[in-house]
Amino acid sequence: MAQTTHPPGTGGHAAPGGEGASRRDFLYLATGAVGAVGVASAVWPFIDSMNPAADTLALASIDVDLAPVQEGQAITVTWRGKPVFVRHRTAKEIEEARTVNLGELRDPAADDARVKKPEWLIVVGICTHLGCVPLGQKPTDPRGDYDGWFCPCHGSHYDTAGRIRKGPAPANLVVPQYAFTSDTAVRLG
């Protein structure tokens, strides 16, 4: 570009043969680069202001009391604005989750990698397809073909370890960060 607008040798002080031209090219490029960095750094605050704010990030972790949840029951708690499914699995459900051939899974993960205590499954209750809340928490809800959850929006089926088995979702239900603070209490976050 610089060559066409400022042909070598026409600048008076530029030496014929291109030494001056290349020096000028360098100045153009350097000025352009500084300008681009300047624009980028001026634009960044605008873009980053749309990212989660400090008060949104300062999310209190929550404590959940598991004592009242009987075997076979499930509760939904809200954490970071999202539903979290806590299910007290039955022996049959644990068995189902463990006996799956991992090679058949779309997003292979062993059951014990997804739970800290086999009877407690804790997953974020948001379908990994397009973010709906799957059904299966209430006893009257459809639980899909694998006894886990069924997303009514686009028909994804999750199993008793919250793994995707059928339907359009690409990944398993997310396991949040959590730790057991006692035998019957867990802290999310």
Binding site: M50, A53, P152
Partner: protein, 422 residues
């Protein structure tokens, strides 16, 4: 926009202004003398109708924005307050909500008119691409507007659509977090959607001005798809087209008013009168009707990223249309084979729309897949081939020839009449 004979303004104030800023000359040139092909039919009125709709949406939107509160705790209630307490609030909101549907009806008819009569072909490619950009801006605006009442469909529609971006590998999740301004659709999301919903109509207005400017360079297409060859083929915009478009606008407004006054919620979804609840997804999430064909395409592809790409591709393919259609003949009137496929595409769009409203399972999933396959087949395979294989019918020599049997007489009064008003 210079012209041979500049208008003479009698009013001294108009003359004074015009000699300093020639807006009256420009208006006279673009909306008074602008030559329209004399054979345009009522389908050509939908551009004007869409323009009127944009004005109505901006006007009602402005006063609604004065009453609306973009905060998750009160957004729903502020909309109900508009409905119950604000003077004429019910009317303004129903005009605005149904106006979105009417705007899309006008634009979709306008687009199919362009498809049928080949209005996208040279030299109108940029005009057409600006139209596709207008459609995209409209879709973004309509989507964000639907989120503002903060009902169940608002919330879950926003969740599903913003989650589309999570399909992109690596950058997907940071983009979605950035769009939300948090870890889920929440107050920051509502707030920015309101800001953007206010901004985008003015971007849209800018695009419409460019669209009209590009139109007035090449001139309007017409049902024969051949260029106007002289004054015997055209009539001045005013009064011929202003009256015709004006009549069409009135008929359209009657249709619009019928919805506003007699079925204001027919095109909406009752679930949106339930306040947003992040813990309960409605059993059946459907977007507004004007998104249904694209929603069907999204769900037809069994892969998340693939579905998202197909949906955006369905619009992108429209932008490439001037180069995909290899036929030199514009109008379907002279393309006997393409004409039939045009109607198949129109039916395909309706079928996709219907499938998009149905649950994505069983027969409807199959219907959506066939419809999606045909949609892309039509644009990507059929149109390039058909331009080479089809033998078009002979084109008439000029626009006035089929009417006047070669007489070519200047339409009485069309050009003889001197301009009286500025």
């Amino acid at each position: 926009m210079a012209q041979a004979h500049a208008p003479q303004f009698k009013n001294p104030v108009v003359k004074w202004i015009d000699s300093r800023l020639p807006i009256f000359t420009m208006l006279d040139h673009e909306y008074n003398q602008y030559p329209m092909p004399r054979n345009v039919n009522y389908l050509w009125a939908f551009g004007a109708i869409a323009g009127i709709m944009l004005v109505i949406m901006i006007a009602t939107g402005l006063v609604l924005a004065m009453q609306y509160a973009a905060h998750t705790t009160i957004a729903f209630d502020s909309v109900e307050r508009i409905m119950r307490d604000v003077n004429y609030g019910w009317l303004l909101r129903y005009v605005h909500a149904n106006g979105a549907s009417m705007f899309f009806i006008a634009v979709y008819i306008h687009m199919f008119r362009g498809l049928y009569y080949g209005s996208y072909k040279a030299p109108r490619e940029i005009l057409w691409i600006l139209g596709v950009l207008i459609l995209l801006a409209m879709m973004a605006t309509a989507f964000m507007g639907y989120v503002l009442p903060w009902g169940q469909m608002s919330f879950w529609g926003a969740t599903v659509i913003t989650n589309l971006f999570s399909a992109f590998p690596l950058v997907g999740d940071p983009i979605v977090t950035w769009l939300w301004g948090g870890f889920s659709v929440d107050n920051p999301t509502l707030n920015r959607f309101f800001a953007l919903h206010f901004l985008l109509p003015f971007v849209l207005l800018g695009l419409v001005i460019l669209h009209t400017a590009a139109l007035h360079v090449s001139g309007s297409n017409n049902p024969l798809g051949i260029d106007a060859k002289g004054p015997q083929d055209t009539v001045p915009f005013n009064p011929y087209v202003t009256i015709k478009d004006g009549f069409a606008v009135v008929v359209f407004l009657i249709f619009y008013a019928a919805f506003v006054f007699f079925a204001p919620n027919y095109l909406g979804h009752p679930d949106n009168y339930i306040p947003a609840n992040p813990l309960v997804t409605p059993a059946h999430i459907v977007p507004e009707w004007y998104f249904l064909p694209f929603y069907a395409i999204l769900r037809a592809i069994p892969d998340k990223l693939g579905g998202v790409l197909a949906m955006f591709g369905a619009i992108a393919v429209l932008a490439a249309l001037p180069w995909l259609d290899t036929s030199k003949v514009r109008s379907c009137k002279f393309r006997p084979i393409y004409r039939q496929f045009f109607w198949i595409l129109a039916i395909d769009a309706l079928v996709l729309g219907y499938a998009g409203a149905m649950p994505a399972e069983g027969v409807w999933l199959l219907v959506a897949r066939i419809g999606t396959a045909y949609y892309f087949f039509h644009f990507l395979i059929l149109l390039p081939l058909l331009g080479k294989l089809e033998r078009p019918l002979p084109l008439p020599a000029s626009i006035c020839e089929p009417v006047l049997k070669g007489g070519g007489r200047v339409a009485a009064g069309a050009h003889a009449k001197p301009m009286e008003k500025a």
